[in-house]
Symmetry: none
Subunit: 219 residues, 4 copies
């Protein structure tokens, strides 16, 4: 009855230790889930395989995520939040729309982030996951709309500042830009890496902002 009264520190320390371990475990699971998911897609990813890669038992996965779709949601949320956060930071800078959007492109194409965004984009456009989510939840979460809004805001600000072509509707600009974030979907079509992320940003940025016509031929 008179417990944990005199040493709240200890208790907190202990519970936060456990909490940390829990977090680590959950992160490990998410990590492996991410790997398997991007290799195999939602349906061909089995809880068994995720567990095996983490080196734990199947049931343990369920200790952290109540169902397979929840695991995916957690992953999606993590990536969406991380992406959203970055986009929001970028949006707050005083840079031009072009610089801002190129920042986002760079962030997307780089390293580990790239993989994450890859999966994030894949999940975003996956019919099966979408159906599952709509059925069991009631939508894809608000981060998606938030993300769209942040980029829209950048685009609109660019238009207002006279930087971007105001005659093209923002939704079209938005979709087109989002499409640029996952050009790797077409990787298998082409093959290995011939271009560095940085180069890719320069090229894609140039395409998106200046078009692909040769400068001399521009009317």
């Amino acid at each position: 009855m008179v417990q944990n009264q005199v040493e709240p520190a200890a208790t907190t320390a202990r519970s936060s230790l456990k909490e940390r371990q829990r977090q680590e475990r959950a992160d490990l699971i998410l990590q492996m889930a991410e790997a398997v998911l991007s290799e195999k897609g939602y349906h061909d990813t089995t809880i068994d395989e995720i567990a095996a890669r983490v080196g734990i038992a199947k049931g343990t996965v369920y200790l952290h995520f109540p169902s397979k779709i929840d695991l995916v949601v957690a992953l999606f949320d993590r990536d969406a939040n991380s992406f959203l956060e970055f986009a929001q930071q970028v949006a707050q800078t005083g840079d031009s729309a072009r610089v801002k959007l190129e920042h986002i492109l760079r962030h997307t194409y780089e390293g580990m982030r790239g993989k994450r965004t890859q999966l994030f984009m894949a999940l975003l456009s996956s019919t099966s996951v979408r159906n599952e989510l709509i059925e069991k939840r009631g939508g894809m979460g608000e981060q998606v709309t938030s993300l769209a809004r942040v980029i829209e805001a950048i685009l609109e600000a660019g238009k207002a500042a006279g930087q971007l072509d105001a005659t093209i509707p923002t939704p079209v600009l938005l979709r087109t830009f989002l499409g640029l974030l996952s050009p790797r979907s077409f990787e298998p079509l082409i093959g290995g890496e011939q271009v560095s992320p940085e180069e890719l940003v320069r090229y894609v940025g140039r395409i998106y902002f200046q078009g692909i016509l040769s400068p001399t031929s521009q009317s």
Copy 2:
């Protein structure tokens, strides 16, 4: 191209009648498969549902397609061929690269073709189907590479003619262009249709060829 045209009467007539019926049946199956596949994705599409929509028994589907993945392959081939054919026709015209590519965009965005290309693109980037195909077949078929080559040829010709910016590597141009073909992946993110296909072509074409910067701000 020149099949079953000059064959002797009776037998052929009968067999070609049967053949035609067979074809019709197969087409019907493909049609329904297409519908279900784009609604539910590969894994959530069941042979049972396809058969039910066609109004035939499950076994009958197997009479036409030896397995579920073969059904998808047939669909994919059909769409890829149709797309390839169109692209090849376009490539042979004397138009500029921009006009050619805008033709392809228009073809993709329009009507029923649009749906087909949608599914085609979805299958192209679907992890599960890709893995399945690599496992059971050994790749995605040659149409994909053929298609890439046709578009590459258009792009390279454009560069050679001084129409397109030669400083951007063709693979990047190619990927970016392919990315423009399935902007609907991001539909749920945005919502209903606010733009007609024709407008979309104009807007997307302008973005791809001239960029999104405001004309006045172009150096």
Copy 3:
């Protein structure tokens, strides 16, 4: 297109043959399910075991019953209907309430019917099945209330005719009577069969109608 037009008989014959086979299969499954269920109870009954006893594969069971609970519902319905039907027939006779109710007791205690009613009663009072049913359906079905109503009607008619003690509320009479239908719940408590069904009816009838006091001691 011009099928089954000239020989509707054949078609019907064929389809009714299939239908009959289907029925037989379903009945066989129900039969085995009944056996396993009364041996092990709902939760310890596995579809695997039912299938094994029938000599078919697990999936085949699901071809006939969409889920385990549906299997139980079918069984329950069958028994409830059979019981209800009998009770209704009995209710329509011109016999006295006592004779009617003793008919029902006899019917319950006899042979195969006994087992069925046993299971029926067991399911009726099984917490797990009840919860399952309330959750997945929305109640126990109407047969149960119908059955209660039929017996209530008999009791009330008996009261009206001056045969039964009108000072005891019908619900109490009803519950008590229903309690008499599954005296075997207490079998393990007591042991093997020492009394024949017919004797049991006589004894139980005497208890229910005249009480257990010795005739001489009745005030």
Copy 4:
């Protein structure tokens, strides 16, 4: 009966304190187990839920009861013993068989005891628990037979005293009486409470002892 009464002070005091705490804990667990078991039945009751209701960890339950079935056994034993004790006390009075048995009915129908007996009766006739017990132990314990014997003794004494109808075999009387102890199994069939326990005793007693025939129609 005469335990821990004369032991030396210190150690015993401490150990009996611990012992008492242990007992209290065990009782609390039993209490919650009882609640969950009667709500959900044996299989749908999870150790997790019991622990949660007590407010302890799952492992702690296992410190008190080596397995789930042991928990049920303990509960069953407790109720059976309590019931048995009461029945034995009643049996020792000088009352008539009717008064004795009505005492037992009253005890069963009243308040908290009622719930306990309810569960007790439910467990008694639960197929899954029975099978589990037979498998892991080897029977249902002796209290059950003891209880049967006590009631049998009352019945036989009643017969010997000329109070009860000696022409009805005692086993039948016994079963029938036991059947009266859990009329609530049929509650869902009827609905809410319209009768008080005391009234119920009077009605059920009258039925059991005098029958349901109208007094005037008794020959």
